[in-house]
Amino acid sequence: MSDFPSSKFNRGRIFAKTGLKVGTNYAKHYIKSLNSSNSSDKSDLHKETAEQVFSELTKLRGTALKIGQAFSVDQGFLPDEFAEVMTQAQYKVPPINRSLVRSIIKQELGQYPEMIFKSFNSEAIAAASIGQVHEATLKDGRKVAVKIQYPGVRDTIASDLSLAKSLFKRLMSNNGDLDEYFEEIRNTLLLETDYIHEGKSIDRFHKRFTNERIITPEWIPEFSTGRVLTMTYIEGVHLGDFLESNPTQEARNHYGQLLWDFFHDQVEDHEEIHADTHPGNFFLTDDGRLGVIDFGCVKSFPEEFFQDYLQLLPTHLRKDEPEIKKLYTRLGVLRGDPETNKKEMQYYQFCLNYGTAFAMPYKEDRFDFGNPDYKELIRDHTKNAPFGNEPRGNKYFIYSTRAHLGLYHFLMKIKAEIDTKRSREIVNEVIK
């Protein structure tokens, strides 16, 4: 129930404090390891530090927490313990003051929750970076989820992004042009804070996808505004709870397949893609369906980028190096001939290795995401990424990769073996 730091100074202070904590923890560990022959378990250190970072970032909420969330779908930049703890940032942020929630509803919907709804649970069932969700029942008996946006979140977008930008500029040896990437993130975040925009996306996805395999909520516009979003409630469990129940391989494959197919159905439509593919946005329902929520980050990519992006998959599988070079040049990753330029060769080698590993699920009709060697392979290539040099690649990679990599991350966690036949056909069909 903590207060929300909205000033640039306060948010900057929390950033700095977090950095200091991480530094102190690792310095302490280093000194301890010098004085002791027993090398203590580094895993505990990572977990403890990650929990501290999580606790500080949750105070910030808003954009800063979004950046934290980005790490939770990471495949190798951070230790596993970090990614695990940061996954909590998706839906386990401390909720805001219950009286604020009432007042926001009164402001936005004209009446207090007890007057609008038949019942309203003042305890949030999920709280994330931009808002928190409450369970309620409409007077007509429908069970709904009411998403409330934290006050002042829109105002923090500009200040957090400028802090993040200055941090990135210090990390990159060659700053390059970060502006277009930050502009893309800023525009997306602004749309994410417009709940009417999200309501319309919910509507489109509900019409397109709700079937015997997928369930998406129904938007209730009469109880929604720019800062309050009401939608029908989806019952189910999150991935973490599902895995704790020790599920059978069959169940793992079933839910994994649903998500894989959901992603490729969107590719087939190539109109818009749910680009927030993290475990917090999916429910596994008792009737065997996949519940998809949170349509704040739905992206449409320009046709040219989308074609080139998908072309990478079969081109890597064919090992067609001249075509691979052409595609990465068009996608803004390569800026010269790798044969004559050492730096370009570094980028090319990374693209070749990582791209080939990434395309592997599309090689044959079945793919086992539970294979630990595959996870290691992806991690190893990520660790060798030359990202420290300068920003590279089309700005649309930010969200296309987030969606696609998020899918892989989910499938690796659930350890599903996937039938990829139809998805391979879809990719080939789309790039014709």
Binding site: M1, S2, D3, F4, S6, I96, N97, R98, S99, L100, R102, S103, I104, K106, Q107, E108, Y112, E114, F120, S122, P151, G152, D155, G226, R227
Partner: protein, 223 residues
């Protein structure tokens, strides 16, 4: 809420609207608007100012009714209860923002006598403190008239901040309420003063300087 109070609220709310049209409106014009006799109004209020001031008093009455309807209110933290008080009052002020903007400072904040609004606001603060069992001992000792007066002063400041707040849905004011009540809670729940008092007590009874205060041993501990 009884019939008489409901009628008083109806009259005062109509008066706030008349006031915006004509600050020196007559009781008769108000009675005409409400389709009642002037004597009915005079039975309840002595003059125009008392009708307008009752609007502010009625806000606290309505706050009590609204709060009683909140499910699980007793489980709210002190910060949440204080926020509820401030935000519910603000929500009602929002309905008559223009009137509040014109009269709050003259009728309430800068009034040279203690208004019913202030008295009742302090009473609500007292209830919030009284019901809270998590307060530190020192905080519960200090939470009296002086603290309440201090909070009321802050509340006047908050109203003026809100009147100048141009953010969408007065989000900045909401943030301020959130921060302010979180701080008040932190001060009330903190046992730093309790611990400090404990330490001071220990130091006092065990310090050699203690002899100067030992009235039973007039010669002092050193002799």
């Amino acid at each position: 809420m009884n019939k008489k109070t409901k009628k008083k609220i109806q009259i005062s709310e109509a008066a706030t609207e008349r006031y915006l049209v004509n600050e020196r409106f007559t009781i008769k014009s108000l009675a005409d608007e409400l389709k009642m006799d002037s004597s009915e109004i005079y039975d309840l209020f002595p003059n125009r100012r008392s009708i307008l001031e009752f609007y502010y008093e009625s806000v606290i009455i309505r706050y009590q009714t609204l709060t009683a309807a909140i499910e699980g209110y007793n489980n709210f933290t002190m910060a949440e209860k204080l926020s509820n008080l401030a935000l519910t009052v603000l929500d009602m002020f929002q309905e008559r923002r223009e009137f509040v903007s014109k009269t709050y400072n003259s009728m309430i904040a800068c009034s040279n006598r203690s208004t019913h609004f202030e008295k009742n606001f302090k009473k609500q603060l007292f209830y919030i403190y009284e019901q809270d069992k998590k307060q530190s001992t020192s905080a519960s000792v200090f939470n009296g008239e002086l603290t309440n007066r201090f909070i009321v002063l802050h509340f006047h400041g908050l109203i003026n901040f809100w009147l100048r707040d141009s953010s969408e849905g007065y989000q900045k004011t909401m943030e301020l309420v959130d921060k302010w009540t979180a701080l008040v809670q932190e001060i009330n729940y903190s046992s730093v003063i309790d611990r400090g008092f404990d330490l001071a007590k220990f130091a006092f009874y065990n310090s050699p300087l203690n002899c100067f205060f030992d009235f039973n041993n007039k010669k002092g501990a050193h002799t």
